[in-house]
Every structure is written in structure tokens, then in C-alpha cells.
Amino acid sequence: MQTLDQIAKVIRSKNAGPFCLTLDVLFDKLADYQRVLAAQIITPEKMADLYQQPVANVQVFNHERALAMKVSLVRWTPAGSLTDTDIYGAQQHVLLYKLPVP
């Protein structure tokens, strides 16, 4: 089975302010976008599970015009706090790579 990193054109993560992490998955073909959307692999429940957050802290947006999916969630620790590992939130996207896409 293919995984998300074989289909998406961009998979990235970044802070949206110091308390929020936002993940973008961008496609270059509408068919790919629709296929991943239909697979229902990026849902608030699944993302909450992957990033160990309560579902209430997770939002998922599907943006067909941008061929994009966005996941915004509360950071497990604020940017720059003592236990933070990634000030810009730039390496937190990796967990999305191996999501299986039927």
C-alpha cells in the first residue's frame, strides 16, 4: 500500500504562534487530493491519536482550491519552554509520512 509521503508534494509543520503547531499536506493533482481525502486518514481523531492531544485541541481543514489539508493542534509544550525540542515546530511533520493511503 502507498503511504502519504509517496503521494503528497509537500508535507510540512510549522508553529502558528508559540502555542500552536500547524501541519500542511499539499498535493499537485486534484486526484491525489481527492484520493487522500476519501481515505479519511487525516481526521481530528486520528491526528489527536498521533500527536497525543485531546480531540478538542485538534482542527482539520480540507482546502480543495489549494489542494491542501491542514491540521492545527495545540503544541505539547509551548515554543521555547524548558522541555521544547523544536522552537520553530519545523520537524514535527514526520509522523504523517507513513500514513497508509488505500
Binding site: V10, C20, T22, Q59, L67, A68, G80, T85, Q91
Partner: protein
């Protein structure tokens, strides 16, 4: 029919070295406004908390020289915001010193507005009942506010507009919304607010909205009912997908972007390819909301010392966490009468295991790698505590015996001398709150200086 207005985004962040070719192309295109961002909250709480600069030296001087000369050659007003990363007064002053020194060196004359963004704590305290958390942040208390080393607020377009009305040709502002420098003039000339703000949001990161994205200068052109965006690097094309995708960059919500005094609503935005390299956008809407500014502040947490440790011995790698647990115990024992464990934090950051993803790492095992890196990270209430704990932690980590040990002369390879290094003061965000204001300019005093 309004004439087109060309807004030139010189750089995504001034002071990191503006790429020259694209910049020159933009200047030659005859912009009506030159805008540049000099800061961000992204580098974390240090700049905000300390008031120190992270950029500077020759890179900042060079970039400022480039934009001042572009202002001179085009006559376009030059708007610079978030001076010195966090926009605190000390950083604003440091940037002004560079601006004035470059002007002197080049014989440039201009009327300059300086807009400060520091918010007195007494003022915040007097409106405490109206302060709201911005997102998932605790409610601001008087005690927490008192701990902040300083508070700034992001100014909207209005203080820039007032400065232009006061005759400013060059504006250097403290903390600013990243849209303000690009949107202030088109909005005061009556261009559609939704389109103007959307354009500003796209070009504030320079050519990031192109494909491939870059850090080259970008041009936004606003007309009657539309705007276009273009990278000034001919190899970078803006496409409907690259522009729509950049609209959601760094935003928690891709369709509704909150700004002071309104929301940029992108739900009906249309993106069309105009020619090979430009995209035309229509349909973005501005929905006014009660005016509030976002405040940012940080407090001092302590002081950091670090030790860098490379490990190649598979036996040590296998017992890594045993050694770390033991090291921690030894430290607590050693200092039981002199240093309270509450006065420091000791973290072993195990690169090769889970130092990047932390608790969400799905595969926290070390076995796959023949070589790993451990960063001993100590933050103490005082520099002396941090240095002491880090030094002792390093020493025990280096020499503790573990089951199966063959090498009894040292467990780790330190790349540097000194092996225990000061990493400065440590801050954490403690103000990230919205403050309602009646007048968008009231918190941002404007000073006019005649330079040259």
C-alpha cells in the same frame, strides 16, 4: 477605476541578506511602496524577553543600505516593521542606530517616523478585565504580568498610516503585524481591505508564495477588485496552487485570518494564472471585528549551560539511560545540602532516540544507530547553579561505570573545550493575549526625526 499600486516586499526578514538580483529587478519595476519585515515571534522567547538582537552586524547594515537606497532611487515610502526581531524599544533603537549611520555614510536625507510598540504594564493592568487569552493560553494575572521582562503589542496599519500623514518617508516601527507595512498605504488610498490584507499576507514572506518558493523579493500589485503577486526572481513562478497554499502558511485556520480590527476571509478567494509567472486573486473579503491588538511578553526562567556528548561505543549506547538515571541520582545526592532540585532542570536530550519529537516519538529506540548525540541541557535559577550542575552531570556521565563496560577511560566524546558551555539567559512566553483598544494608534507613539 483606481490605478494599479505596486507594493514591493523587499525581504521576508531584513538582516538575513536580501538576494540581490531579484531585489534590483523589483526596484527597477518602479514600486509605489517598499515594505520590509524585520522580525517575528518564531525564534522563540529569547529576543522578546532579553531585548537583545539576534541579527545584526554587517548583514543588517547591508540590507538596510539596500532598502534605503531603493527608497532614494524610487521615491517610494519605505515601511519597516518589527525592528530587531521582537520589536522592543532596545531593539528598535539598535535598528535606528544602523539606519541613521547608513544614512550618514551615504549622504541620504529623509523624514523618518519611529513608532514604538512597548506597552506599559500599568496600562495593561488598568484594563485587565478586558484582556483575553489568544488561543490556548492561561488567563493573564497581575502576578504573571509582573514577571514579564517587557510587553510589546503588534500594531495594525493605522500607526503606519498616521506616520505617513505626518509626512514620513521612512518608517521604522517596533512590533508590527506582518501585514501592516504592505497594507497601510493601499488601505489609506481606499483599495479593498480584504484584497489588500490578503496580498500583504502573501508577500510578507517575499517569494515563499512562488513555486519553487524562495526568499527573494516579491511584488504585489493591487488594482480595482483584484491583486496580482509575482516573485522578482524569474525562475520562480507563482501558480494558483502555490499562492493558495501559501495563504495557509503559518496560519492555524486556512480560510479566516484574524488581524487587528477584522478577519481576512478567504473562503471565496479565486486564484487565476495571468501569465507564466503571475497570479491574480479576487474575492477575498474583510470582515470588521472589534479592534484588539495582540500582546507578547516573556519572563526569565533561568540560565542555561550545555555539554555536547558524542557516543560511539555500542555498550554505552545500550546502557545510555541507565547511566543517565544514575548520573541524576548522583547529582541529587551530591548537592542534597546545597542545591534544591527545584532550582534547576536537567534534561538529557538523546539525539538518535527522541530528542526531536519528544513524547510523540513513535519509535523511541536507539538500536538502529552506530553513533548518537546527547545534549546535556541544564537550566538553573542562577548561572552558578546551572554551571555547577551541568559540570558535575557532564563529569559523572563521562565516567560512570555501567554493566558490560569495557572502556573505563571515558563514556563520551566531547567535541569542544570548554566541554561545558554557557548558553545564556532562558526565557519563556508568558503573555500572548489580546487587548481591546478604542483607538488603534493609542498604544503606539510616533516620533518624527529629520535624518541627514
Amino acid at each position: 477605476m483606481k490605478p494599479e499600486l505596486k507594493i514591493f516586499a523587499a525581504s521576508g526578514q531584513l538582516g538575513y541578506g536580501i538576494p540581490e538580483d531579484a531585489f534590483k529587478r523589483g526596484v527597477a519595476a518602479g514600486p509605489h511602496v517598499i515594505g520590509a519585515d524585520l522580525g517575528s515571534i518564531d525564534p522563540g522567547p529569547y529576543c522578546l524577553g532579553s531585548g537583545n538582537m539576534v541579527v545584526g552586524g554587517e548583514a543588517l547594515r547591508r540590507d538596510i543600505r539596500m532598502v534605503l537606497e531603493a527608497h532614494k532611487s524610487t521615491g517610494a515610502p519605505l515601511l519597516m516593521g518589527s525592528a530587531g526581531t521582537a520589536g522592543r524599544r532596545s531593539q528598535l533603537d539598535a535598528v535606528l542606530e544602523v539606519v541613521e549611520s547608513v544614512a550618514k555614510e551615504r549622504g541620504l536625507k529623509f523624514r523618518m517616523a519611529v513608532i514604538a510598540s512597548d506597552i506599559p504594564k500599568e496600562l495593561i493592568e488598568s484594563r485587565m478585565d478586558r484582556v483575553k487569552p489568544c488561543g490556548v493560553v492561561p488567563t493573564l494575572t497581575k502576578e504573571e504580568l509582573a514577571r514579564a521582562t517587557g510587553v510589546v503589542a503588534q500594531m495594525g496599519v493605522e500607526p503606519f498610516q498616521r506616520a505617513i500623514d505626518m509626512g514620513a518617508e521612512v518608517i521604522v516601527a517596533g512590533r508590527s503585524c506582518d501585514t501592516s507595512m504592505f497594507a497601510a498605504i493601499p488601505r489609506m488610498r481606499g483599495y479593498d481591505a480584504g484584497l489588500t490584507m490578503h496580498m500583504a499576507k502573501l508577500i510578507e514572506c517575499a517569494s515563499s508564495c512562488a513555486d519553487p518558493g524562495g526568499r527573494d523579493a516579491a511584488m504585489g500589485v493591487i488594482g480595482d477588485g483584484y491583486f496580482t503577486v509575482e516573485s522578482m526572481d524569474p525562475k520562480q513562478r507563482c501558480t494558483p496552487v502555490s499562492v493558495a497554499a501559501h495563504s495557509l502558511y503559518e496560519q492555524s485556520d486556512p480560510f479566516l485570518l484574524d488581524e487587528p480590527g477584522g478577519t481576512i476571509d478567504l473562503r471565496a478567494s479565486k486564484y487565476e494564472q495571468v501569465d507564466d509567472r503571475r497570479v491574480r486573486v479576487t474575492g477575498s473579503v474583510w470582515s470588521p471585528t472589534p479592534y484588539h491588538v495582540k500582546m507578547e511578553g516573556a519572563r526569565l526562567t533561568g540560565y542555561r549551560f550545555v555539554a555536547m556528548c558524542g557516543i560511539r561505543d555500542p555498550r554505552m549506547i545500550a546502557e545510555l539511560e541507565t547511566v543517565q538515571t544514575e548520573t541524576r541520582k548522583v547529582i541529587e545526592r551530591t548537592f542534597k545540602d546545597s542545591i534544591d532540585p527545584k532550582d534547576y532542570s536537567l534534561i538529557f536530550r538523546n539525539y538518535g532516540k527522541n530528542a526531536v519529537l519528544g513524547p510523540v516519538e513513535p519509535d523511541p529506540t536507539l538500536v538502529a544507530s552506530h553513533e548518537i548525540f546527547v545534549l546535556i541541557d541544564v537550566v538553573g535559577k542562577t548561572e552558578s547553579i546551572a554551571k555547577t550542575v551541568c559540570g558535575v552531570a557532564k563529569q559523572f556521565f563521562l565516567h560512570l561505570r555501567y554493566p558490560g563496560i569495557l572502556c573505563t577511560s571515558g563514556n563520551v566524546a566531547h567535541p569542544f573545550s570548554p566541554d561545558v558551555m554557557p548558553a545564556g539567559a532562558v526565557y519563556e512566553f508568558n503573555v500572548y493575549h489580546l487587548l481591546p483598544v478604542d483607538d488603534p494608534c493609542e498604544l503606539f507613539p510616533i516620533e518624527i526625526r529629520n535624518v541627514g
